[in-house]
C-alpha cells in the first residue's frame, strides 16, 4: 500500500496525508488510491505541503509503518535523540524504526 508524505512549507515538519489534511503522525496517514499525483499537485499549489511524494507502507495492529528505514526515521525523529522524537517517553522507539 502507499501513503503520501511531504514537509510542511513553513515549519519543514514531516507530514502525512490523512485524506483531508496533513498530520505529523504517521498513524493518521490514509491509504492512497491512484490519484496521488492529483493530490500532490493540488496540495502543493495550495501551499499546504512542500515536495509531497508517495511511499510504501504496511498496516498492522500497531498502526502504519513505512517500508523503508529512512521514512520510519522521518516518521518518528532521530533515533539518537529520543527526546526529540514524537514519542519521547517511549523507551522502545528505536525498535519501531529499525
Amino acid at each position: 500500500m502507499n501513503i503520501l508524505t511531504g514537509n510542511d512549507l513553513k515549519s519543514g515538519a514531516v507530514v502525512w496525508w490523512t485524506g483531508e489534511t496533513w498530520s505529523i503522525h504517521v498513524n493518521d496517514a490514509a491509504l492512497l488510491d491512484d490519484d496521488a499525483e492529483a493530490i500532490c499537485a493540488r496540495e502543493e499549489a495550495a501551499r499546504n505541503v512542500n515536495l509531497p511524494y508517495p511511499i510504501e507502507a504496511t498496516r498492522d495492529e500497531d498502526g502504519i509503518r513505512p517500508a523503508h528505514t529512512k521514512e520510519r526515521v522521518r516518521a518518528l525523529g532521530p533515533t539518537v535523540r529520543p527526546d526529540l522524537t514524537l514519542k519521547p517517553a517511549d523507551p522502545d522507539i528505536g525498535n519501531w524504526v529499525i
Binding site: 514531516v14 512542500n50 515536495l51 522521518r74 539518537v80 535523540r81
Partner: protein, 544 residues
C-alpha cells in the same frame, strides 16, 4: 581575527534583505519550490530529513566569543537547543523553520556571519589549519591567505555556477591538519630556496564517490600571484569540467581524465593570459588583512611547567593539548566526543560556556576543527587546570583527542536525506565498547571516521579505520576500510571485504584493533602497523 569593513557588512546585509523578500514570496505563493530551491540553497538552507537545515559558514573555523554566543542563541531561539559542528569547520542547525530563516540570517549578520555559499555549485567556505597562528611548526599564519581567498571567491560572478561544488583548504606547515590534499584545491604556503614565501598548489583531490589525492600541479607561486593562479585553476575547470554527469563533475575527474600535466599546462596558459588583466588584488590588501591576524598580546618569559599531580588532569593535558609557538602557552582541544554522545553536537549551554572560556583563557578566540572538536588556540599553561576544571563540569573534558573515541561521524540516516545508513549510533557503540574495555589510551592514535553514504562527509576514506554505511536490500550495512590518512601522509583507505551489520561492525573494529595489538612494534600507531603488515592479517581475523 578578520573584522568586516563597511563593504563586507553591506554585502551581507543586502543578502539578508534579498532572502527575506524571497522567503516572503515563497510563503505567499509567488515563488514555487522549483524556483525557490536554488535561492534557499544559496543561503545554506536545505530541506533535510526532519525539517529545514541551515548550514552557517565559519571561515577557516575561526570564531570569537561574541560569535559563539550568537550561534548558541540561535540554537536556543530558533532550533532545539543544540548545534552540530561539521567536518567543513561549519555549524548546522537541524530544526529550522522557513519562516524564521531570514531572522536567523539577520542575527548572524549582526555578528559578521552568514550562510552564503555553504551550498550549491560554488566555492564553499575556505578551510584551514585549526591551530593556525598558534602551532609551533607553522611557517606563517595561513589564515590571511584563506581570508584573501574568501574575499575573492565570495560572490565571484564567474564561479557561482560551477560544474559542481568547490572546496579549498590552505595550510602553512608540513604537518597537514586540514586534509589539504583531499580538497579540490589544496594550498600550502612554503618558502623557496631563496627564502621567499609562496604557495604550492595541489589540485583535484576529494573524497566522495571517487576518492582521489590531489597531485601537485605547481610547486611555487609567488604570493602576489596567488589569486591569479587560483582564478586560472578555476577557469580551466569551469570551462571543461563535466556538466553532463553529476558524478563526474568534480575537478578531480577533470584532472584525472586530462592527466595532471595537461591540466597544469592549460592552467599555465590561462595564468599567462590572466597575469596582465588586473585580477590580483594589490599586495597592500593582503597586508591590510594580515594586520587582523597579528598575534594577541602574549606574555613573555612564561614557564613551561605544568603540575601533573592530578592524574585525570595530566591525562587530559597529554591528550588534548598541542605545543604552541610561544613558551608557556598551549592550544587546548575541547572534545565534542563524550563517550555515548553525538560527535560534533554541542548544547546551547555548552556553546555559551565555550564562548566564555575562549574569552577568559584564549584571547577571545576559538576554532572549529574538521574533526568536529573545538580549539582554544592560546591558553596559558598556568591557566590549564582552571580551564580543565570548568570543562569537566560542563561535560566537555573528555581526554580523547585522536583516539578511537574521537570519531568523526556525519549526521547519517538520523538527519540526512541522502543517507543509506545511520552513522551516529555506530560511533556511539564503538566508543562505548572501547571505553568499557578501558583500552582507548593503550590503542594510542587511531582515527576512525564514519560516513552514512558514499558522499563521504564523514571522511571514511581517510580514516585509519573507515566505515561506510550502505543500504543492503533495505537493511543498514557497514563496510570496513583500513589504512586511510588525511594528514601529511595522505592515503586512501581500502575496503576489507564484505560488509557487516550494525552490531557486526563494532565487533569487526574490535578485531582489527586486536590484530594491531598483536602485531605492533614499539611506538607504532595502528596506521603504521597496517602499512607494515598489509591487509591480509586483518582479513584473516575478520573473515578467516
Amino acid at each position: 581575527m578578520y573584522l568586516y569593513d563597511s563593504y563586507d557588512q553591506q554585502m551581507v546585509d543586502a543578502r539578508v534583505a534579498e532572502f527575506r523578500d524571497q522567503t516572503e514570496r515563497r510563503l505567499n505563493g509567488k515563488l514555487n519550490e522549483e524556483q525557490f530551491r536554488p535561492l534557499r540553497l544559496m543561503n545554506g538552507l536545505y530541506l533535510q530529513l526532519h525539517a529545514y537545515m541551515l548550514r552557517v559558514a565559519i571561515p577557516y573555523g575561526t570564531l570569537n566569543s561574541r560569535q559563539m554566543h550568537a550561534l548558541a542563541q540561535i540554537s536556543g531561539k530558533y532550533d532545539r537547543g543544540y548545534g552540530h559542528f561539521t567536518t567543513r569547520q561549519n555549524i548546522q542547525y537541524n530544526w529550522i523553520k522557513l519562516e524564521d530563516a531570514p531572522d536567523i540570517l539577520a542575527d548572524l549578520a549582526k555578528v559578521e556571519m552568514h550562510a552564503i555559499q555553504t551550498s550549491g555549485n560554488c566555492i564553499r567556505n575556505i578551510s584551514s589549519d585549526h591551530f593556525a597562528g598558534a602551532a609551533a611548526d607553522e611557517l606563517v599564519d595561513p589564515r590571511p591567505y584563506a581570508e584573501l581567498l574568501r574575499q575573492w571567491s565570495s560572490f565571484h560572478p564567474e564561479f557561482t555556477a560551477l560544474p559542481r561544488k568547490f572546496k579549498i583548504a590552505v595550510i602553512a606547515s608540513d604537518t597537514d591538519r586540514a586534509a589539504m590534499r583531499l580538497h579540490d584545491i589544496g594550498i600550502q604556503i612554503i618558502k623557496n630556496d631563496a627564502g621567499e614565501l609562496g604557495a604550492s598548489f595541489y589540485v583535484g583531490g576529494g573524497m566522495g564517490r571517487t576518492p582521489m589525492i590531489a597531485p601537485l600541479i605547481r610547486e611555487f607561486i609567488p604570493l602576489d600571484q596567488l589569486i591569479t593562479y587560483s582564478e586560472a585553476c578555476l577557469r580551466v575547470y569551469n570551462r571543461y569540467g563535466r556538466r553532463d554527469n553529476k558524478y563526474k563533475a568534480r575537478i578531480k575527474i577533470l584532472v584525472h581524465e586530462l592527466g595532471k600535466e595537461e591540466y597544469a599546462r592549460q592552467v599555465e596558459e590561462e595564468f599567462a593570459h590572466l597575469l596582465n588583466q588586473g585580477v590580483e588584488p594589490p599586495l597592500e590588501e593582503l597586508e591590510r588583512i594580515k594586520l587582523f591576524f597579528d598575534d594577541p598580546a602574549f606574555e613573555s618569559g612564561l614557564s613551561n611547567e605544568i603540575d601533573h599531580s592530578d592524574p585525570d588532569f595530566a591525562r587530559w593535558v597529554d591528550r588534548n593539548t598541542q605545543r604552541h609557538k610561544i613558551p608557556g602557552y598551549v592550544s587546548a582541544v575541547i572534545s565534542l566526543k563524550p563517550v555515548g554522545g553525538i560527535p560534533g553536537d554541542a548544547s546551547v549551554e555548552q556553546m555559551h560556556i565555550m564562548a566564555d572560556l575562549a574569552k577568559e583563557y584564549s584571547f577571545d578566540e576559538c576554532r572549529v576543527m574538521h574533526t568536529q572538536n573545538i580549539v582554544l588556540p592560546h591558553v596559558k599553561m598556568a591557566d590549564l587546570h582552571a580551564l580543565w576544571t570548568k570543562l569537566e563540569a560542563a561535560g566537555l573534558g573528555s581526554p580523547n583527542l585522536d583516539t578511537i573515541e574521537d570519531i568523526i561521524a556525519c549526521p547519517g540516516l538520523d538527519y540526512c536525506s541522502l543517507a543509506n545508513a545511520r552513522s551516529i549510533p555506530v560511533a556511539q557503540k564503538i566508543a562505548e565498547r572501547f571505553a568499557d574495555k578501558g583500552c582507548t589510551e593503550e590503542l594510542g592514535e587511531l582515527k576512525l571516521k564514519i560516513s552514512g553514504c558514499i558522499n563521504a562527509c564523514g571522511h571514511h576514506h581517510a580514516g585509519h579505520i573507515g566505515i561506510l554505511g550502505v543500504d543492503k536490500k533495505g537493511v543498514e550495512n557497514y563496510q570496513l576500510l583500513l589504512g586511510g590518512s588525511e594528514a601529511q601522509d595522505t592515503a586512501l583507505a581500502k575496503i576489507t571485504g564484505p560488509g557487516f551489520s550494525e552490531e557486526g561492525i563494532v565487533d569487526a573494529v574490535e578485531k582489527a584493533t586486536e590484530v594491531y595489538i598483536a602485531n605492533r612494534t614499539e611506538g607504532e600507531r595502528f596506521l603504521d602497523t597496517y602499512r607494515r603488515i598489509g591487509m591480509d592479517p586483518f582479513k584473516e581475523a575478520l573473515y578467516g
